[in-house]
Amino acid sequence: MKTQEYSVIGTRPIRHDGADKVTGRALYGADFQMAGLLHGFILRSPHAHARIRRLDTSKAAAFPGVKAVMTADDFPQVPERLVDLGEGDTPLSYARGNVLAQGKVLYRGHAVAAIAATSVHVAEEAADLIEVDYEVLPCALTAPDAMREGAPILHDDLKTKEFGEQTSRVSNVAEHFRHVMGDIDAGFAEAEITVEREFNTATVHQGYIEPHNATALWNNDGRILVWCSTQGAFVVRDVTACILDVPVSRVKVTPMEIGGGFGGKIPVYLEPVAALLSKKTGKPVKIVMSRKDVFEGTGPTPGSYIKVKIGARKDGRITAAQAFLAYEAGAYPGAMVGPGAMCVFAAYDIANVVIDGFDVVVNKPSTAAYRAPGATNAAFATETVVDEIAEKLGMDPLDFRLKNAAKEGTRRADGPKYRRIGCVEVIEAMKKHPHYAAPLGGPNRGRGVAVGFWFNVGLPSSCTISVTADGTVNLVEGSTDIGGTRTSIAMQAAEVLGIPAEDVRPTVVDTDSVGFTAVTGGSRTTFATGWAAYEAAQDIVRQMKERAAKLWETDAASVTMERGVFRAADKSITFQELAAKLDQTGGPVVGRGAVNPRGVGGSFSGNIVDVEVDPDTGKVTILRFTAVQDAGKAIHPSYVEGQMQGGSAQGIGWALNEEYWMNGSGTMMNSSLLDYRMPTALDLPMIDTVIVEVPNPGHPFGARGVGEANIIPPPAAIANAIYHAAGVRMDRLPMNPPAIMEAIWKQRD
């Protein structure tokens, strides 16, 4: 199909779940009600690192209104194995240990015990009666701290994996890996300019507005029913089953509406606890986190220490690049340094590269994915160094990027060669944008640019479609809809069927009712579940052709379908007319689609940003912001723009304000939405968007997932803008007023 032939793709229909969401009728996880519901509360550790000497829950259990109390000891103690947490495998003991601590607490906020009671207030009061005797241990709070010789060790059994081999060295470094391409020494020898800089970035949180929640009922038939807000109902099913040591078929997860996730609602925190409390009480149990619990107990994204060195010739060609990335995993391994290492130089075609990655456990909450996890930290470093080299060479920063831009056939240092990508097109669109040439209009102002890359992960998705007699269809899918994907998926089915988007009714269903579908994450939902819908719709078309053939007593192969009209010889019938004749042509028509695409595609994103830096206070104001991104083919442009604007706003918050402000003993001092300062409407300008469309060769409509790449460039673009406004190169995030003033004063000295 050619672009201009689309009738649904590229239009902007009203989202199918819209009316429910603007009237308050949509049911999110915390809205779930059930007769006899008990309320759970989780007691959390006040220490960042401590041994639990004694844990006595008897007084809490005796408190009026308390129905059950549990600790990690109540979980079945099953042999170690790997479980798929939605974005990679992890040992079961880690997944379980993060749900409820066993023996040791590894971060402040680590769950220690759980209570079910008649109300959440009763449960909270009773939690005060749980006696825990802690032996407080020294803690390690940053990657460099935890890597130091003699650092406090979090896990006595964690031995460093180095270059793929298991060593016998017990340390906080879970893994050290290296990507090598070309000859790094020769590359730097060829360079006429080399810049090497170190960077530190703070831990930040995904910041979804809806706290985690779960309701579970251990039913009398032995089935475990779960209602929760999650990015992946099947992941919740599988992890809950593993932790409770039951077959996956015993668990049924119903995904409720979800109030934001950004990667942070992939891990399982509450469901196994609610389930076991339900088993003990015979009643459904609901647990909802407080905002403090969300900050202290759920996955933020890693803080990091990064060193980047890049060398270039005077003609502007990069000859070598080297990166050292040490990411904080939090309490358990899995810091997303892998994707950080894949993305650190992903925008450039560089012959000689060495990338070292370190996955380091520290006494902070176990980290989770956050929108292009790992890539934003890495790009902050690379894009700042790239900007400095361009400046020193006297080249326009976009021309310098264009000269080195990755394109089809470019090999990344971690191995893969790109198929068709839109890096060059994104940078060209930035150059052409009027913003890039506009006057800054005042003193203390500067303009910065940066680019970033993120993948489409693919992974399995399933859909079924059934035809209704009135010519509409019901589409059943398993992807949680966080940002309008019911519609972007339905539109792909509608395009194939030749019917309006409104005539496809998408429903997100429970894990009993649709084939396996991986998480809503990895920029995969519109891409992969949309593809499953495309396949299911193709299946419908095939069957409908047979029905038309039967009607006309002809061969199905001679029937064609275009824009919802079936034709053979001189006969024609519309999709709607044929749908009314299903009973007389053989009964219901149900189509199925199940895909497991490889991660072909990926999306580049770029920002142009103007800032004003107050030289007396260090406050940075974002004056103008332009986001450019390759969407391959924008299925629903409004929601593509929405992703770009949302990712930009999160990137701006990450750049300027947000951080886990920890004291020396590992307590987050700003665990409220007042003090963890996310951008408000008053902090931001309108965010201009430019959608670039370089079709993805790995998708039927050429779509690329757009959910993530947009968060990558903002911190670097803003850092570059700050440099051009105030003359200081920022080497840490957040770039808040104290950090800016410190840099300005340091430069004056």
């Binding site: 905002r291 940002g483 992703q643």
Partner: protein, 158 residues
């Protein structure tokens, strides 16, 4: 069981009586006692605005109001914004402008925006941003929300 207090209010135009514990917030009363779950909890300390309702036409975060304080007051929640089966122009504008993604902050934004437009039918972008700074949205970057409010204001004036 704590002693419960009888509270008489008017919610979305209808007289409404309920029993609550003195320690329960208005947010809890709306959600857990009255089943009005359109009002959301995001932080329970007045910083996210997801629980915004109108109390005697004042914009309040219902997590910071006790249920017993609602005695005798007129409360408007998101469930009371639509005009029967017709969406309120703000609700329509939010849909037409794709001004929501996950939607959990949307009820609070619509309630705040309604209070703004009731007072100021022709707000500037700056005024809209100032009023909506009461509410956090993590998905949209606010751009489309601001435009939706502008559109609703324009339509109301037309």
């Amino acid at each position: 069981m704590h002693n419960r207090v009888r509270v008489q209010t008017t919610i979305n135009g209808e007289p409404q009586e309920f029993l609550c514990e003195p320690r329960q917030s208005l947010l809890e009363c709306l959600r857990d006692i009255l089943g009005l779950t359109g009002t959301k909890e995001g932080c329970n300390d007045g910083n996210c605005g997801a629980c915004t309702v109108l109390m005697d036409d004042r914009v309040v975060t219902s997590c910071l109001v006790l249920g017993v304080e609602a005695q005798g007051s007129q409360i408007t929640t998101i469930e009371g914004i639509a005009r029967g089966s017709e969406l309120h122009p703000l609700q329509r504008a939010f849909l037409e402008n794709a001004a929501l993604q996950c939607g959990v902050c949307t009820p609070g934004f619509i309630v705040t925006a309604k209070a703004l437009l009731d007072r100021e039918p022709n707000p500037s972008e700056e005024q809209i941003r100032l009023w909506l700074a009461n509410n956090l949205c993590r998905c949209t970057g606010y751009d489309k929300i601001i435009r939706a409010v502008e559109q609703a204001a324009q339509e109301a004036r037309a």
